[in-house]
Amino acid sequence: MENHKLSISKINKLFKDKELKPSELYDEVFERAASTESIIHGHLTLFQEENIQKALESNTRYEKGEHLGPLDGIPIAIKDNINISGHVTSCSSKMLANYVSPYDATVITKLKKEGVLFTGKTNLDEFAMGSSTENSAFGPTKNPWDPSRVPGGSSGGSAAVVSAGSAIASLGSDTGGSIRQPASFCGVVGFKPTYGTVSRYGLIAFASSLDQIGPITNNVEDAKLIFNSISGHDPKDATSLIATKTEQPNLNKAKIGIIKELMEDGISEDAKEEVYKVAKLMEAEGHEIVEVSLPLTKMSISIYYLIAPAECSANLSRFDGVRYGARVSGNTSSEMMELTRAEGFGPEVKKRILLGTYALSAGYYDAYYGQALKARAMMKKEFTDIYKQVDYVISPTTPSDPFKFGEKSDNQLEMYMSDLCTIPANLVGMPAISIPTGLSSQGLPLSVQIMSPANTDNTLLDFSQTLQSLVSFIDKPILNRTEK
């Protein structure tokens, strides 16, 4: 019986109809983990033993007809930069390798209330900095479609485990594309909500003004379900939005803009073809397709690599060996801090801290960080203006299909360029979804990205669901094929 690729609503129906028990699905998912983890290394920790009891409790709730909601009994994986009380939250860093969080992130509290079963914590690039999971201190995750290729990053583990079926869905975090890019590389759906709709409390910060938690799922419907259960105002997060009902669903005749600047040099032909293919399908449904120009998207990498490192340079200051985490002793307290940080952080993290520290330094602030803030504001305005003309904008999620290990780790700029299409949504704060739509000439997954104005998340998800029904994407990672 293969249930791990069913939609959550179908699973829920099976549970309610007593055709499947949560504990049976739980076992199935961990069987998948047993057969795939040794190859893909998606989970850093598995909670199999400790959650069996919870799966049985879920069984009982369904038997009594007292289940907590559609997510009751659903095994979900959590990126290892989101705190679960009593468990290690390592951020894939030596710095926090043994750090046990004493509290739950708000998203975890919400999912627990719904009876979700956590499969474990998933691998990421150290402190969510990277696009391939090659920066994990605990070894990379491999792409279930081709283990010689990267799963993308930084939420590579979260995308890979959904693709491989060792979780029904997962949570990732997205600072510059860290949900969408790995979702695209692994042929699954990745959704980055509007900034402020999902509480960041308990998410270990990379760049606070850009970070947002979101779901990685097998389909859009699941993404919507999870999004709606983890979103909502949280008094513990001052940037959390108070829900505003401004959504105006316009599913029949939407106007969709293809972003000209994200269909130019640096984007593979395959990736462009997917966008055109999807555009045609939508046109056939009566939607209007136009080309829109957003010139500042070309600057997004430059803006991002000033703002994100600047914020991270302060966010990561707290890792000093004084109160928790790794500690390397020294002759003085400052020496202890220096040695701890030298030993605890990997090279990419150090590089970004240095970059950010420099960008904020006296005499350089105005030229770098200050300019980046201005450019970011201009970019926001550019998008606001475009949304007066179109309902959605569309682009490839990634410039190419998944690359091989080591292929880009020597060329930093090329690695950074792999987030070209995804960064604008973080800088602007708008929702963006990546939907797998087809395969490249190499038979690897490709996705398109759709974005819409801030606070239209449910509209975007509904629209994406109709789009998903138009494309016939066949989810066949190599791991699944070889088994059959």
Binding site: N81, I82, N83, T89, C91, L96, Y99, S101, P102, Y103, A105, R200, Y201, G202, L203, I204, A205, A207, S208, S209, P235, K236, D237, A238, T239, A310, E311, S313, A314, S317, R318, F319, D320, V322, R323, Y324, T332, S333, S334, M337, T357, L360, S361, A362, Y365, Y369
Partner: protein, 481 residues
């Protein structure tokens, strides 16, 4: 040429909110370390700051009460530096958009009004507390103990312009600020508890010089006395250096309470670059006109206004200022009493001297309800009209605090009413003269000190009812005639 000192003060005021600035941990007054902690004030990974609305109201109240302009869009910044008692290794503070700017505070120095100009009033979070074992400084300590109870408590920093001219003025400024935050009910205002902590920036220059001298920051002054002494010391140190054309370096100096000297802590040349940037975890604070007006409406009677009321009643600036430092009910009580007695000075003296003295002695925080402005005034008026002696007045007051009584009735029934009838007193004087012939002779021979003895005899004979000054006057008249 005269050498003139210039002083600027930076004062941290600990607000008395129930909870901390960015989390809901209680602000505890305890010696037990690390009792009030949560992920946020401990800087645990993933925690976030959520600003305390009460603290924003308090700082707005203080900024308005120091005549500051209120920034309608305030912003929190991160001030980056590494120190073990700073949980996040950055402090959430304010930078270019503080809550209040360009204010002023009226103070009283030597019985005269002065105005201290306030540069800014901004909000920040406190750090934890380090206790270094084996040494006063972290790098030479054998170990350092950290207590994070204090971490995250809301602080307001009040920065003056460098226009203060003397140690006396600096002390008067701190006294005024302390009284203000107490009257505003936003801080305990206890110096000994560190509710108010201050640093002084001091420079000296020749009178008429257009530029200020090199600024030296003095830290670790824990009382008004040490503030005064440290400033005095530093002014004289710098003055000597300026006179002998020595180079004064910009630095932070530590006040040594025992040795009564300042010593160099660190040079400013290698000072930290704090890399301020707006805190992305906290949206801008919009202090709307409505909000500011609501706060404005809650401003109580300020120390300067209290002084004005006391001065209008007839008190000097100095007395008005001192009375303002008493509890508000004492001031109110004084106003009621002085309106009845029509004698402000006598009312002030009796209330701040005798009444408060008695209350302190009995460790009472308020008056028994039968002690009213009316019966207290009655005592003062009896003294003023020479009906009772000051000694009797004190006796009546002591009784009055013990039990309900009518002062005049009590004076009469206890024979405390003074004899003011000259003829009656004259008779007693003559009686004393008659029975002390020997003494009179000695006085005539120049033994003046025996006059007091005779006055005492007169008072004794009258059973204390004779006004001593009247008795003395009559006695001398008789002897000399």
């Amino acid at each position: 040429m005269n050498i003139i000192p210039t002083i600027g003060m930076e004062t941290h005021v600990e607000l008395k909110t129930n909870s901390k600035m960015f989390c809901r941990c209680y602000v505890l007054d305890t010696d037990l370390p690390n009792e009030s902690l949560c992920p946020t004030c401990l800087g645990l990974p993933g925690s976030l700051p959520a600003p305390n609305k009460k603290a924003i109201e308090f700082i707005t109240l203080l900024a308005l009460s120091t005549n500051c302009s209120i920034t309608n869009e305030g912003m929190f910044h991160r001030k980056n530096y590494f120190y073990p008692d700073l949980p996040k290794n950055y402090q959430i503070s304010q930078f270019d958009l503080p809550v209040g700017t360009e204010g002023s505070l009226e103070i009283v120095v030597d019985g005269e009004f002065e105005t201290v100009e306030i540069e800014r009033v901004h909000m920040e979070e406190d750090t934890g507390k380090s206790t270094h074992i084996g040494s006063g400084r972290i790098d030479s300590a054998t170990s350092t103990h950290l207590d994070f109870n204090r971490a995250g408590i809301p602080l307001v920093e009040v920065v003056t312009k460098p226009l203060i001219k003397s140690s006396k003025e600096a002390v008067a400024y701190i006294e005024e600020l302390r009284q203000l935050v107490i009257d505003l009910n936003i801080s305990e205002g206890k110096l000994e508890k560190g509710n108010l902590r201050f640093d002084a920036n001091i420079s000296v220059a020749y009178e008429g010089d257009k530029e200020l001298g090199t600024k030296v920051e003095i830290k670790n002054m824990n009382s008004l006395k040490s503030l005064e002494k440290a400033i005095e010391y530093e002014i004289s140190r710098q003055t000597k250096m300026l006179k002998s054309k020595e180079n004064i370096i910009q630095e932070t100096r530590h006040w040594d309470e025992k040795k009564e000297v300042t010593s160099s802590m660190r040079s400013k040349e290698g000072s930290a670059d704090y890399r301020y940037f707006s805190d992305p975890d906290i949206p801008n604070m919009i202090l709307s006109e409505d909000f500011v007006n609501t706060i404005k409406a809650t401003i109580p009677v300020l120390p300067s206004e209290k002084r004005k009321v006391f001065m209008d009643s007839g008190l000097s600036i100095e007395d008005s200022n001192n009375l303002g430092k008493s509890s508000n009910w004492i001031g109110d009580f004084y106003i009621q009493v002085s309106e009845i007695t029509k004698d402000s000075k006598a009312s002030f003296n009796f209330i701040t001297g005798e009444l408060q003295g008695q209350l302190r002695k009995l460790e009472l925080l308020s008056l028994p309800n039968w002690v009213t402005a009316k019966n207290l005034s009655e005592i003062i008026i009896l003294v003023n009209n020479d009906k009772i002696s000051f000694t009797s007045a004190k006796e009546i007051l002591t009784k009055l605090i013990e039990e309900k009584l009518e002062p005049e009735e009590y004076a009469v029934s206890n024979n405390l009413i003074q004899e003011n009838d000259i003829d009656e007193i004259g008779k007693i004087v003559l009686e004393v003269i008659d029975s002390n012939e020997e003494v009179i002779i000695r006085i005539s021979d120049g033994e003046d000190k025996l006059i007091g003895f005779l006055v005492g005899q007169i008072i004794k004979l009258s059973k204390g009812k004779v006004n001593p000054s009247v008795a003395k006057e009559l006695l001398l008249k008789e002897i000399n005639s």
